[in-house]
Symmetry: C2
Subunit: 103 residues, 2 copies
Amino acid sequence: MSNYQINNTPLDEMFKALSNPHRLALFNRLMNCCTPGTKCGVEAERFCVGELGEGLDIAPSTLSHHLKELNRAGLIQMERRGKHVECWLDPSVLTELSAFFKV
Amino acid sequence: MSNYQINNTPLDEMFKALSNPHRLALFNRLMNCCTPGTKCGVEAERFCVGELGEGLDIAPSTLSHHLKELNRAGLIQMERRGKHVECWLDPSVLTELSAFFKV
DNA sequence: TTGATAGTTCGACATATTTCGAATTATAGG
DNA sequence: CCTATAATTCGAAATATGTCGAACTATCAA
């Protein structure tokens, strides 16, 4: 049944995490704040939970749930910093996902 | 909310199609039969429905359903040929999906 | 035309997902 | 210690998904 994994997360779980429009939007925000070619996760390339959810029109509890899913799937990193929880992308995951589809 | 599309299919629907282990396995079989760098869909790089489902241990109706989903998501092509229905990948979709994750 | 093989459609059922609001936890500041 | 802000957890409800078997359609070959 093929069991490809990236950083110990089965691929299908990654795709499941990206299969919801809200979660994909959150993921996209983090992708777009990443300067191409540079390491993600730098100060300026982090968003806190509240910022990420802006304009998405979902309840805080729903937002929290979705970010947790993205995190469980290994797609984003999260870390508490004072009152906020910061989120950022793991660039290596992006690279591997890109490679997966490489013809 | 960002609305990326590839060939008129919203990205989140593509990921949804790939989010099921069975469907991902089917997709993988088609990917692996594609000679890297060459055009997919060539005679030798097609599988009929029955072949694709071999070893997956799912009912024919379930198999049919999953392939239909992959097709609806624009990830695979399907065409009747005599008694069989042949399936193959659209390489341009692969390229675009790969590009999406490109850092 | 009849039978066999390959797939699809349909209806049903169990399970999973999405979403919310209310209650809760964590932290900083007065 | 008390309050406000940020986020998470929990339980409930509505909706979606995965799966099957039975019935159906399509095609080829005798």
